[in-house]
C-alpha cells in the first residue's frame, strides 16, 4: 500500500478553532417552548373536561333535591320534578350498546379474519380501503338511516303496534352497522401483523386454513383484537347521533328494546340543544350524566390500552 505517506501534523492545528462553549440560541429556545406548550394543551383539555364535569356535577349533587343514593337507584329521571335516578338513561345506553356489540363483534371479527386470511391481496387491496372509507361516514348519516329505514323495517317485521316510533332496537342495530367497519379494520390490522412463519408452521402440521386462522392466528393477535372490541364498545357508549334520532326522546326505564328510551348521550344532546337557561337544574344535571359517561369510556380505553401493552405479542 504505497499510498500511505507521512504528513506533518501541524496543519489542522493552524486552522482557527471554533469555541465549544454554549452559545445562546434564542430561536431554538422559543421554538422548543412553543412545541412544549402545544403538547401541554392536551393536558389542559383533560383538566378542562374533568374540571367542568366535576364542578357542575358537584353543584348538582349539592342541590337539596338530589342525593347520591337516589341518583344510582331511582328509576325516574325528571330533574325539574325532583326525580334524578340515572338508571333509565344507563339501561338504555347499555341495551343499545349490547344490541350493537352482539352483532358487530362476530361480524366485524369474521370479516377481518376473512380479509386477512382468505382474501387475495388484490381483493384485500380494494376491500380494506372501502371498510376504512365506511368507518369515516359521519354518524348523523347512520342516525338518518335508523329513522328512515331500520325503524320502518322493524315495524313491518314485528308489527306497528309492537315497535314504537322511537325504539332502542333500531338504534342498536344501526349502531352495529356503524361499528362493524371499526372493529373489522382494527382487527384486520392486528391479524395481518401476525408473521407468516406462524401460519406456515401450522399448515406444515396439516392444519386446514380455518384451523390455522381460528387456533393460531386469532390467539396470536388476541390483544389487538381485544383492543378493537373494547374500542367498539366505547364507541357504542359514546355514540350520540344515532340514539338521539332513533332511540327515544325522553328517559324511560324499560328493558323492552322495541320501546322508546333515551340514552345518556341522547339526553345530553336533546337538553343542550333546546333553549335552556344556564341556571336550570336541567342544564346542571347533564354534567352529572357526562361525568358518568366520561368515567365509563375512560375506563374502557384504559383497559384497551392495558390489553395492548400487557399482552403485546413479541413475534
Amino acid at each position: 500500500m504505497a499510498v500511505i505517506t507521512q504528513s506533518s501534523g501541524a496543519q489542522a492545528s493552524a486552522r482557527e478553532r471554533i469555541s465549544l462553549k454554549k452559545r445562546p440560541r434564542p430561536g431554538e429556545t422559543i421554538i422548543q417552548s412553543l412545541l412544549f406548550v402545544s403538547g401541554f394543551i392536551s393536558i389542559l383539555t383533560t383538566i378542562g373536561i374533568v374540571l367542568v364535569l366535576v364542578s357542575e356535577a358537584l353543584i348538582f349533587f349539592a342541590s337539596p333535591e338530589v342525593s347520591l343514593i337516589e341518583f344510582f337507584t331511582d328509576t325516574v329521571w325528571a330533574p325539574e320534578a325532583g326525580r334524578v335516578g340515572i338508571l333509565p338513561l344507563v339501561t338504555s345506553t347499555l341495551i343499545t350498546s349490547v344490541i350493537a356489540m352482539i352483532i358487530a363483534l362476530p361480524i366485524g371479527l369474521s370479516a377481518a379474519i376473512f380479509l386477512s386470511e382468505y382474501a387475495s391481496p388484490r381483493a384485500r387491496g380494494y376491500l380494506k380501503p372501502i371498510l376504512e372509507l365506511l368507518a369515516g361516514i359521519p354518524t348523523i348519516v347512520y342516525g338518518f338511516f335508523a329513522v328512515t329505514f331500520m325503524t320502518p323495517l322493524l315495524k313491518n317485521i314485528f308489527g306497528a303496534d309492537v315497535v314504537e316510533f322511537y325504539n332502542m332496537a333500531s338504534a342498536g342495530l344501526v349502531m352495529s352497522v356503524m361499528i362493524v367497519p371499526i372493529v373489522a379494520s382494527m382487527s384486520e390490522d392486528a391479524l395481518s401483523a401476525v408473521p407468516r412463519a406462524l401460519r406456515e408452521g401450522s399448515y406444515g402440521l396439516g392444519a386446514t386454513r380455518l384451523e390455522t386462522s381460528l387456533k393460531i392466528v386469532v390467539p396470536a393477535a388476541a390483544s389487538g383484537i381485544a383492543a378493537a372490541l373494547i374500542v367498539g364498545i366505547s364507541r357504542a357508549f359514546g355514540e350520540t347521533m344515532i340514539v338521539a334520532l332513533a332511540a327515544g326522546a325522553g328517559p324511560n326505564f324499560t328493558f323492552n328494546p322495541f320501546q322508546a328510551a333515551e340514552t345518556m348521550t341522547g339526553h345530553i344532546a336533546r337538553i343542550s340543544s333546546g333553549d335552556l337557561s344556564f341556571d336550570s337544574l336541567d342544564y346542571i344535571s347533564i354534567f352529572s350524566i357526562g361525568l358518568l359517561l366520561f368515567i365509563m369510556t375512560l375506563t374502557l380505553n384504559m383497559i384497551s390500552r392495558w390489553f395492548v401493552r400487557r399482552y403485546r405479542e413479541v413475534y
Binding site: M1, V3, Q6, S8, A12, S19, K21
Partner: protein, 285 residues
C-alpha cells in the same frame, strides 16, 4: 480460511515495511482526542468501562474488536452523538484539543461541528446532491452568495473524490447514486463543513471491494487535513490505512474496554495481549 489468514498477516507485514508512524515522528504528535477512564451507560447498562484512548492529529486511528464490544458506542462519545439516545450518561473524560467536551458549559452542537461523522450505511438526505452538501455549509453561513456556495460544494465533492461521478447531475437526488458514490457523498458532506476530526463507523461495510478501495485511498488523502478515527471489522483495512489501532474487547458483564492501544504495526505484528493476537490473526470467534 488459513490462506486468507496468512495473506492478512503478509499484508500487515508489507504495511509495516512501508514504514508508518515510526518513532521518528513521535516528537511532533499532537493529541486531538483523548478519552480518560471513560465509562458509558445506556440506562443502567454499562457499555464502556475505563476506556483510555487517544487519537493523534492528522493520523488515522482504527478501532477494532468483536461485534457488540462497544466500538460504535465509543466512537459516538467523541462527538456526543450518544446524547441523541435517551437515557445515556458517561463517567470520566473526553477532551478535544485538551478541552473537556462533556463539560457543562459545552454545546454538543459545537462539538459536532468540529467532529464530523460518516456512518456505516450511507445516509444521504433525500434531497439533491447539491443540497446534500450545501445544507451543512448554509448552517454556518446562511447568507453565503450563490457563487461561493457553488465553489464550496464543488470543493467538497472534489475533496471526497466524487466530483467526477456527480458533476453532471447535481440536481438529482443523492439517494439515486450507487452505494459507494453515496458513501463518498456523505464524506463530502462531512468535509464540507470543515471539521477537524472525522469519525467513520464501518464506512465500507456495505460497499463492494472497488468502492472500498476508493474510500480507503480517500481516507489517506484526507488525513493531511483531518484527524480520522475509523471503526472497522476488516483487519486488512485497519492494517492498510491506519496509523494507530485500539483493540476493544467485551468483559464478562458485557461492558466494552480497550485492551490494547498502539501503533498499528505493533498491534498487527507483535501485540502484547494474547487476545489481540488471537483476534487479528482470526483465531477469535
Amino acid at each position: 480460511m488459513t490462506q486468507i489468514r496468512s495473506l492478512s498477516i503478509q499484508s500487515v507485514k508489507a504495511v509495516a515495511k512501508d514504514g508508518i508512524a515510526g518513532g521518528e515522528t513521535q516528537a511532533i504528535l499532537e493529541t486531538k482526542i483523548h478519552a480518560e477512564n471513560l465509562c458509558m451507560y445506556y440506562g443502567s447498562f454499562r457499555a464502556l468501562v475505563d476506556v483510555n484512548f487517544r487519537a493523534y492529529a492528522n493520523k488515522i486511528t482504527a478501532i477494532i474488536g468483536p461485534s457488540g464490544c462497544g466500538k460504535s458506542t465509543l466512537l459516538r462519545t467523541f462527538n456526543r452523538m450518544n446524547d441523541t439516545v435517551a437515557d445515556t450518561r458517561i463517567e470520566g473524560q473526553v477532551t478535544l484539543d485538551g478541552e473537556d467536551i462533556y463539560a457543562p458549559d459545552v454545546d454538543p452542537v459545537a462539538v459536532r461541528r468540529r467532529v464530523g461523522m460518516v456512518f456505516q450505511k450511507p445516509n444521504p438526505f433525500p434531497k439533491s446532491i447539491y443540497d446534500n452538501i450545501a445544507f451543512g455549509i448554509k448552517l454556518y453561513n446562511p447568507r453565503m452568495p450563490k457563487s461561493e456556495l457553488d465553489a464550496r460544494v464543488e470543493a467538497a465533492l472534489r475533496g471526497a473524490a466524487v466530483w467526477d461521478d456527480v458533476k453532471d447531475k447535481l440536481k438529482q437526488p443523492g439517494t439515486a447514486l450507487s452505494g459507494g458514490q453515496q458513501q463518498r457523498l456523505c464524506i463530502a458532506r462531512a468535509i464540507a463543513v470543515e471539521p477537524e476530526v472525522i469519525l467513520m463507523d464501518e464506512p465500507c461495510s456495505s460497499l463492494d471491494p472497488i468502492s472500498t478501495l476508493k474510500i480507503e485511498e480517500l481516507m489517506v488523502e484526507l488525513k493531511r487535513d483531518y484527524t480520522i478515527i475509523i471503526v472497522t471489522h476488516n483487519m486488512q483495512q485497519a492494517a492498510r490505512v491506519s496509523d494507530y489501532t485500539a483493540m476493544m474487547m467485551m468483559r464478562e458483564d458485557r461492558a466494552g474496554e480497550v485492551i490494547e492501544f498502539d501503533e498499528t504495526e505493533t498491534i498487527f505484528t507483535k501485540p502484547k495481549d494474547k487476545r489481540t493476537e488471537d483476534y487479528v490473526t482470526g483465531r477469535f470467534g
